[in-house]
Amino acid sequence: MQYNVTVIGSGPGGYVAAIRCAQLGFKTAIIEKYDTLGGTCLNVGCIPSKALLDSTEHYYNAKTHFSTHGIDIPEPNVNFGQMIKRRGEVVKANVDGIAFLMKKNKIDVHHGVGSFVDKNTIRVTDKEGKESTITTENVIIATGSKPTPLPFAPFDKKRIISSTEALVLKEIPKHLIVIGGGVIGMELGSVYARIGSKVTVVEFLDSLIPTMDGTMGKELLKVARKLGIECHLGHKVTALENKGKEVVLKAESKDGKVLELKGDYCLVSIGRRPYTEGLGLEKIGIETERGQIKVDDHLRTSVPNIYAIGDVVRGAMLAHKAEEEGVMVAEQLAGQKPHINYLLIPGVVYTWPEVASVGYTEEQLKSSGRAYKTGSFPYKALGRARASMDTDGLVKVLADKETDEILGVHIIGARAADMIAAAVTAMEFRASAEDVARMSHAHPTYMEAVREACLAATANRPIHL
């Protein structure tokens, strides 16, 4: 065999798995279909969207908050071309970084589409159609996911677009219609709302970011409306058509009222589906279930030397979840016994304010019948938030009614994405709300809101409320 481990796909799951394998002494190869490494996350997902989110947030602040801060500047203009260019530079720096890491760890990179010949042989077909063959003891499939299209209106990539196109538009949309008020829809909706697009979100369920705690959705709706985003919740899209210069969308509310929207672009962000095309899974008998590759608790597929991680398997489609799984498989191959606590994989929405959450939602606790208590603390009452004028949002802590153990932490507010790590730490150690409340938190910081919410959860005794 040429390799101990071959990883198919170089997204955050794949490249992290490859590095960990190399660290553990395995001869490792990685196969990537595209020219650059890093997968969706680095090329057309997390990283470029954050680049645009930050650029547009700066613009938005300059336009709306600077004068209050005492900074008088002429009316700022959006140089959209530069924003897109900078976003490209950020992406390039990151994917080059991955290429360097592959080299540093002596991981062989094979560009092309990987396809199973048998369980130990993979054929790689590059762009020119040249074929080569890799033999390997173990395989980690990390081919990720693709945006799900509407069944009646596939992506035309011109006006009916996915997140990929939304990150490289040539112009600022006049009216961007967003189907799906989940993480991707709300992030990209925010990007364009800040730089002048009219943005309308149509969501099938009755709440934005519906998989997260209900309070988060409610608060996000408030801040989205403040930003001028129009939200139609509980609406089912029935028709979507590219009329050349515009798209026309028809949706129906639960009580049968018809909504018609016209815009120049429509972002369809209703979810993502596992991507396994061209792998030849059926040839070697790897089972799938609704597109997902079936794996056991050790991420092993139905073929014993082949593992699968990240978006192609069950669980949340998150880069950091894929990374954990990549590490887990690599360490298992080395005979170690790592754990993943799936409950404690945090979820983040990079709107402003950000939303971040970990553990159980209040809805989950209610339906499971667990006795719990809640503690909330608003950013409004936080000195740090007032100083920076980021007073939207709150921290909500859910704790076990008897033991006071923290069961869930949900934050909407400035810097929530970074703050949630502290909640994960506390929960990995099964801290109680009082434990966190009794730890010193630097003043003035946003994290004080977490401590105050813990005080509120412990015995309803926040200090600053």
């Binding site: 754990h339 033991t403 990995e428 150690f429 801290a431 109680s432």
Partner: protein, 500 residues
């Protein structure tokens, strides 16, 4: 006026008890006859019921040894606590009013299938009492199978109605208890929290995470094949830190540092931890104290069992026919011992302080192995009993022992002990004295051995016998002569008849 509760007299010769466990906390409100503590004597464990209703004030802590008659706690009658301070009782009352509401549903809890080949279990301990409020998943009882002990969690929240009593054996699927299902939180939670020392409350609240390994610790333990239950967490609230997990490799007493070269074992290496039963703890404590506090040594001899075996084979049918009980070896040994004890009264005596207590009667303790551990019921006045009386007494006591029904009286006051390791195949052993007695006879298996009789090698059924004795009171001459006398009488049972 507070009622002082003293250690009750639980049996003759028991002068002190150990408080094994307070079932109620200081400051708890207790009902008359409610069990508030578990006490242990050197003979058995028993429960202490409240002598009155009121607020418990604990004076002696768990683990303390208290002489009979001394005060261990006080109970302040309700009147004193409640009447002059209505403010204090009000929240309790309102809490009770807002407490859980019955739903009318009754959950029947049955014996779960705990493992293949296990067909029945025994309720070893009820951790909750009949009528107690129990929460879902709270451990309410300890259940024993012949393989292991396990905990029984409540299958619902509500009032416990016990069906199967402690010690009762149930087959899989048998009804253990009923829970009258209720909704809402238990009422006593609130008063408990603000009434008592905050330190205790905090300790309690931290304990839910005891034994929870940190992420790194979890990985390390799993790789070592050690379950978190086997590790004592040194972190906050008993959490298992990475350091605990790293050190978990170090087996107590083992030379750990030298081990890394040894390849990791591949088979299952599951360990199991169970709390020692009160009886086991008592046995452990007493055996060690005998070793430490007496000058014990053992003398040996061998007995040619042929004469007794001949008598047995000749008369066992007639004996059984007449008395309804089999003719065993125990009656011969008991009679021989009783006769020898008469000749060597020191062996039948006990030390009490500066005095020696001689017994003119022979109360012989017989060691009986039971599922719960070793017990030693007493056959009284063996010197006056006939063979059949001894045999039926042995059977009666052994049966009661196995059923766990022996009373403290039946296990108290022996003057000498006989233990028979031979039933398990023991060739030779050094038994440990049963205090305050001064000697114990060990019987062993009967094996055909070549022996020399009248200058010829013959094959005889031989039993080695051992006498462990307390050299403080019995000298070598006495002990050896005693054992020789026993041997003589067993090898020539006619001597038993004639007393020579």
């Amino acid at each position: 006026m507070a009622i002082q509760m003293k250690v009750p007299t639980v049996g003759e010769s028991i002068s002190e008890v150990t408080i094994a466990n307070w079932l109620k906390k200081d400051g708890d409100v207790v009902q008359p006859d409610e069990i508030i503590a578990e006490l242990e004597s050197d003979k058995a464990a028993f429960e202490l019921p409240a002598e009155a209703g009121g607020v418990l004030r604990i004076i002696r802590k768990a683990g303390e040894t208290v002489p009979v008659g001394e005060v261990i706690c006080e109970i302040e009658p309700n009147g004193k606590a409640a009447a002059p301070e209505p403010a204090k009782s009000a929240p309790a009352a309102s809490a009770a009013a807002e407490g859980p509401k019955a739903t009318g549903e009754v959950k029947e809890m049955k014996v779960p299938a705990v493992g293949e080949s296990i067909t029945e279990v025994t309720i070893s301990t009820w951790l909750k009492k009949d009528g107690d409020f129990v929460k879902l998943d709270e451990v309410i009882a300890e259940v024993e199978s012949d393989k292991a002990t396990f905990e029984l969690p409540a299958e619902a929240t509500g009032i416990l109605r016990i069906v199967a009593k402690e010690g009762e054996s149930l087959s899989i699927g048998g009804l253990i208890c009923r829970i009258e299902v209720m909704e809402g939180a238990p009422a006593p939670a609130a008063p408990k929290a603000n009434a008592q020392a905050p330190a205790a409350a905090r300790q309690e609240s931290a304990s839910y995470a005891a034994g929870h390994p940190s992420p790194a610790a979890a990985k390390i333990l799993d790789e070592k094949g050690i379950s978190p239950q086997q590790v004592k967490g040194s972190g906050v609230g008993g959490r298992i830190t990475k350091e605990d997990a790293v050190k978990a490799e170090v087996r107590p007493g083992g030379a750990a540092e030298a081990k890394p070269a040894v390849p990791a074992p591949t088979g299952d290496r599951v360990e199991r931890r169970e709390k020692m039963s009160s009886l086991r703890r008592t046995i452990a404590r007493r055996l060690v104290s005998v070793k430490n506090e007496t000058a014990m040594l053992t003398t040996f001899n061998e007995v040619d069992m042929k004469p007794i075996m001949d008598i047995r084979s000749r008369y066992k049918d007639k004996f059984k026919e007449k008395f309804g009980v089999g003719l065993g070896f125990m009656s011969f040994f008991a009679k021989a011992v009783a006769a020898a004890l008469k000749e060597f009264p020191g062996v039948n005596a006990a030390i009490d302080g500066d005095e020696i207590v001689y017994h003119d009667y022979c109360d012989i303790s017989i060691a009986v192995s039971t599922p719960r551990g070793l017990v030693v019921p007493v056959i009284r006045n063996v010197e006056k009993l006939s063979f059949d009386q001894i045999e039926s007494e042995v059977i009666r006591l052994a049966t009661r022992g196995r059923d766990g029904k022996l009373s403290i009286e039946e296990m108290t006051g022996g003057t000498f002990s006989i233990t028979n390791g031979g039933v398990f195949g023991s060739m030779l052993s050094t038994p440990i004295i049963n205090p305050p007695q001064s000697a114990i006879l060990g019987m062993h298996n009967i094996v055909e051995r070549p022996v020399v009789k009248n200058g010829e090698i013959v094959i005889r059924p031989i039993m080695f016998v051992a006498l462990s004795y307390d050299h403080r009171i019995v000298d070598g001459r006495e002990s050896v002569s005693f054992l020789v006398r026993v041997k003589e009488m067993l090898e020539d049972p006619g001597r038993l008849l004639l007393g020579i």
